[in-house]
C-alpha cells in the first residue's frame, strides 16, 4: 500500500526535534553550570583558600628558621643566614618559593624593628647595641587554581544590588558588606589582576597601587604578619629559680624600674600618681614546681608551675600557680666570631690566671656586642679592673674555665669602669663578696646591670643525665653598697648572704637569701642579654 505524501507535513518533525534538543540542552547547560560552580567551590576554592594560608605560614616558618640561624653554635650556619635573600637596609626578602603538589608559592619579608621604653614601634635596628632586635615577618602565600580565569564563585547571596569592592579609603570600605557577599567576600580570587596590589599596594599601605598580574592566574593569596621577639635570659622577672626560692630578709623588698626612664627612684613604688608607677611593679619572682617562701615585700607577681607559695600576703601583685616554666642548661656560645686575645702580659692582655690584686685590662680594640674582645683564663682570684678603649663603648667577654681545689673559679673582684660592657662566663663556682663586684658603667651611683653579666655554663651531664658536679654562686656580705649585675646560671645554687642594694636579676637553679636587700629589677633588661632563641609573639592575618 502506498500513501501519498503532502509537503505540508514534512517540516514538523524536524522543528519538534530541534525544540526538544534545545530544551534538553538548556536543562543540561543549567545542570552543568550549577555543577561546575559547586565543583569549583567545593573542590578548588576551599582547598586553595586553605592551602594559601598554609603557604603563607610556610613562608613565615622559613623566615623564622632563617632568623634562628643567629642562635646556632655552628659558625657555618650563622654565616649562611639570608643566603639567597634580597637585603635592603634592615629588611630581608625571600625569593619566591614554590612547593607542594599544588605548586604553592610563598614569599616573606623580614623587617627589623624595636620598641622603645613606652612600647612604641620603630622600624630598623635598635640604636642601643645591648638590646636585641625584634622582627616583623610579612608573608604571602598563593595557591594557584585550576581551570580558566573565568572559574566561578558561589555568590548565592550576592543579589543585593550593592556596590562590590568599595573604593580605597572610602567610608564604604569599613562596611565589608560593600565588598560582596558569599564566597567572594571570604575567598578572594585574583583573575586578571592582583586585587591586593591594585587596591592597597604591595605592602598594603596604599603606596604604589598598580595593576599587576597575579603570580598565578587564577589564584588565591593570603597574607599574614607575625611579630618575632628575641628570647632573652632576663625577661620580666627579678628572680627565676628552677627549684626552691627563699628570701629575702624580712625587711627586704623587690621592686623594679626602667633605666630608660632615668635613675632608680625608691619613692615610685608607693606613689601611684607617678608616671612610672607601673614600672615599679615588675619585681616578680618565678619558680618551677618547688616552694617559694616569701620574706619581705614583692612589688610584683609570683608565678609557679604547680608550686607552693608561702607568705603570699607579701606579694602586691598576683600569685599564679599555673605558669609553664622551662629552664634549659646553658652552654658556652660559639666564639669563633669573637676577637680572641691569647693569654699574655702587657697592654691588652690577661694572664692565664688572674691572681694579682691590681690587674687592669684595657683591650686592644673596642669590639662590639656581637664580636667582643674575648679572653680565657683558668681562675680569677685577684682583683680585675676593666677599662674602656679611648672613650669608646668597649665590649669584653672573659671565660673562667677552671677552679681551685674548692671548686671555685671566681673568688676575686671585678670592677667595670665607665664605657665597659663585660660578660663573664664561668664553668665552676663563684664565691666572692658583694662589694668586690663593682659596676661603674655609666656611673658608680647609677650603674646599669646589663653592663656586668655573669653566665654560668651548666656542668656536663653523665650517662644518666645527672650533672657531673654542682655549681654554686655565693655572694657574701661585705660593706653594703650597690651591686648591679645580672646572673644567668640555670644550673647554679645561688646564696646571697649580704644585704646590698641589688640592681639586676638572677636566673638560677635554687635561690636563697636572708639579708634585708633592696632589690631593683631593671625593665630595660627585657630585651638585653645573650640571645637564647626567638619566639613568635603575635599573629595577624590581613584579610583584605
Amino acid at each position: 500500500m502506498q500513501t501519498r505524501k503532502t509537503s505540508q507535513e514534512s517540516g514538523n518533525v524536524l522543528i519538534c526535534a530541534l525544540i526538544a534538543i534545545l530544551i534538553v540542552s538548556l536543562i543540561g547547560a543549567n545542570v552543568l553550570s550549577n555543577s561546575t560552580t559547586r565543583l569549583n567551590v567545593s573542590s578548588n576554592h576551599v582547598r586553595a583558600w586553605k592551602e594559601a594560608l598554609e603557604a603563607a605560614e610556610g613562608g613565615g616558618e622559613m623566615a623564622f628558621a632563617e632568623l634562628r640561624k643567629q642562635t646556632s653554635t655552628d659558625a657555618a650556619v650563622r654565616a649562611s643566614q639570608w643566603s639567597g635573600w634580597t637585603t635592603s637596609g634592615t629588611t630581608h626578602t625571600s625569593p619566591q618559593t614554590t612547593f607542594g603538589a599544588s605548586n604553592l608559592i610563598a614569599q616573606t619579608a623580614v623587617e627589623t624593628l624595636y620598641f622603645d621604653a613606652s612600647g612604641v614601634f620603630h622600624a630598623g635596628a635598635n640604636p642601643d647595641p645591648a638590646q636585641n632586635n625584634w622582627y616583623r615577618l610579612r608573608s604571602k602565600g598563593t595557591a594557584p587554581l585550576p581551570n580558566l580565569k573565568r572559574t566561578g564563585m558561589d555568590d548565592a547571596l550576592v543579589q543585593d544590588g550593592q556596590t562590590h569592592f568599595a573604593a580605597f579609603g572610602s567610608t564604604q570600605m569599613k562596611d565589608i558588606v560593600a565588598r560582596s557577599k558569599g564566597d567572594s567576600l571570604l575567598r578572594k580570587i585574583d583573575f586578571q589582576y592582583d586585587h591586593f596590589v591594585s587596591t592597597y599596594g604591595p605592602n598594603g599601605d596604599g603606596v604604589n597601587k598598580t595593576l599587576v598580574a597575579p603570580v598565578a592566574a587564577p589564584s588565591i593569596s593570603r597574607r599574614i604578619e607575625q611579630i618575632v621577639t628575641p628570647v632573652t635570659p632576663f625577661f620580666d622577672a627579678a628572680i627565676k629559680a628552677n627549684g626552691i626560692f627563699y628570701g629575702l630578709g624580712s625587711a627586704a623588698y623587690i621592686d623594679s624600674y626602667d633605666s630608660r626612664n632615668g635613675p632608680y627612684d625608691p619613692t615610685v613604688k608607693t606613689n601611684p600618681s607617678s608616671p612610672y608607677y607601673k614600672d615599679s611593679r615588675h619585681g616578680s619572682v618565678e619558680i618551677n614546681s618547688g616552694t617559694a617562701t616569701i620574706k619581705g615585700t614583692i612589688y610584683g607577681d609570683v608565678a609557679t608551675n604547680g608550686g607552693t607559695v608561702i607568705n603570699s600576703q607579701y606579694v602586691t601583685g598576683t600569685v599564679d600557680n599555673n605558669v609553664p616554666f622551662t629552664l634549659e642548661d646553658y652552654h658556652m656560645p660559639d666564639t669563633s666570631g669573637w676577637s680572641y686575645q691569647a693569654p699574655g702580659s702587657g697592654a691588652g692582655k690577661l694572664p692565664s690566671s688572674v691572681t694579682s690584686s691590681s690587674q687592669t685590662l684595657t683591650p686592644p680594640a673596642a669590639g662590639t656586642s656581637a664580636a667582643p674582645n674575648y679572653y680565657v683564663i683558668s681562675t680569677l682570684s685577684g682583683k680585675l679592673t676593666v677599662n674602656q678603649v679611648a672613650g669608646e663603648e668597649t665590649y669584653v667577654a672573659i671565660r673562667v674555665n677552671s677552679s681551685n681545689v674548692n671548686g671555685d673559679g671566681i673568688i676575686g673582684g671585678i670592677t667595670v669602669n665607665p664605657g665597659v660592657h663585660l660578660r663573664i662566663y664561668f664553668d665552676y663556682n663563684i664565691s666572692t663578696k658583694n662589694s668586690d663586684l663593682a659596676n661603674n658603667n655609666p656611673t658608680s651611683t647609677n650603674p646599669l646591670a646589663s653592663n656586668l653579666q655573669f653566665y654560668g655554663i651548666s656542668p656536663p651531664r653523665d650517662a644518666n643525665g645527672n650533672p657531673v658536679r654542682t655549681q654554686t654562686i655565693n655572694l657574701n656580705s661585705g660593706n653594703p653598697g650597690t651591686l648591679a649585675a645580672t646572673f644567668y646560671a640555670p644550673s647554679a645554687a645561688v646564696n646571697e648572704n649580704g644585704n646590698p642594694d641589688f640592681i639586676g636579676t638572677v636566673v638560677c637553679k635554687t635561690f636563697y637569701a636572708n639579708g634585708n636587700i633592696a632589690w631593683h629589677y631593671d625593665r630595660a633588661l627585657n630585651s638585653k642579654g645573650e640571645l637564647l632563641d626567638f619566639r613568635i609573639a603575635s599573629y595577624v592575618e590581613d584579610t583584605r
Binding site: 550549577n34 612600647g119 614601634f121 558561589d154 548565592a156 562596611d175 590581613d542
Partner: protein, 215 residues
Amino acid sequence: MRLGSSLAARAFTLVEMLIAMAIGVAIIAATLTTSVALQKSFYSVDNYFGTHIQQIRIVDYLARDVRRGLSVVSSADKHTVTVNLPRYIIQAGDADATGSNIGTPRAPSLAVVNRDYNINYLPTSASSSSVVVYSISGSSILRTEDNVVTMIASSTDSLLPETVDVELANTEYTTTAITFQPLSVADRNGTVVYSTAYLRNRRRAIPTPSPSATP
C-alpha cells in the same frame, strides 16, 4: 493497490480520537511527572550542596577569625561565638586615623602583661580590640564585626560552635559542628561538618563586659 483519497476518509473516528488522546495524556502525564520529579531531585541536590557549601563557609569564617584572634568564647547555648581580634587596619573614625592612613595596616605597640609580651594593634593604648560576634538570626548566620553586620550564610538552621578553654598550653581552640536538615529528609544526621581551629596568638583574658550576642 492504490487508495483513493476522499474528504470523508480523512477524519479519525471517535474511538481513534479517544485512544489517541488517552495515549497522549498518558505520555504528557508521564513526562510531566518525570519532569517534576527530576526538578525536585535537582532542586534537592542543589539545595543540599548549596547549603553544604555554606556550612564550609561558616567554619572557614570562624576558623579564620579564631586563628588571628586574641580570645574566643561561646555562649552557654553554644549558638553564639565571640572573638576578639587585633584592630589591624586603620578605619575611618579611629583615633589615629589621619585621612591618608585609613585602610592601611596599623603599627604594633608593645606592653608587658602578666610576664608576657602583648603585641597590640590599637588606635590608642586605652582602646579595645575588635569584637566579632557570630550569631543565628532566623535561618541565617550573621557575622557582626564592630557593629557592622554581614550575613554569611542562610538556610543553615543550626550553628553549633563549642569553645574549649585549655589552660595547660595557654591556648584556646574552637570545635564547631554545623548541621542542616535537607529538603524532603526529616533526619539531619549525616549533614554535620566539624571544624577545629586553634588561636595562633597566646590567649588573653576575655574583656568585660562582653559584647551583646545579637546586633
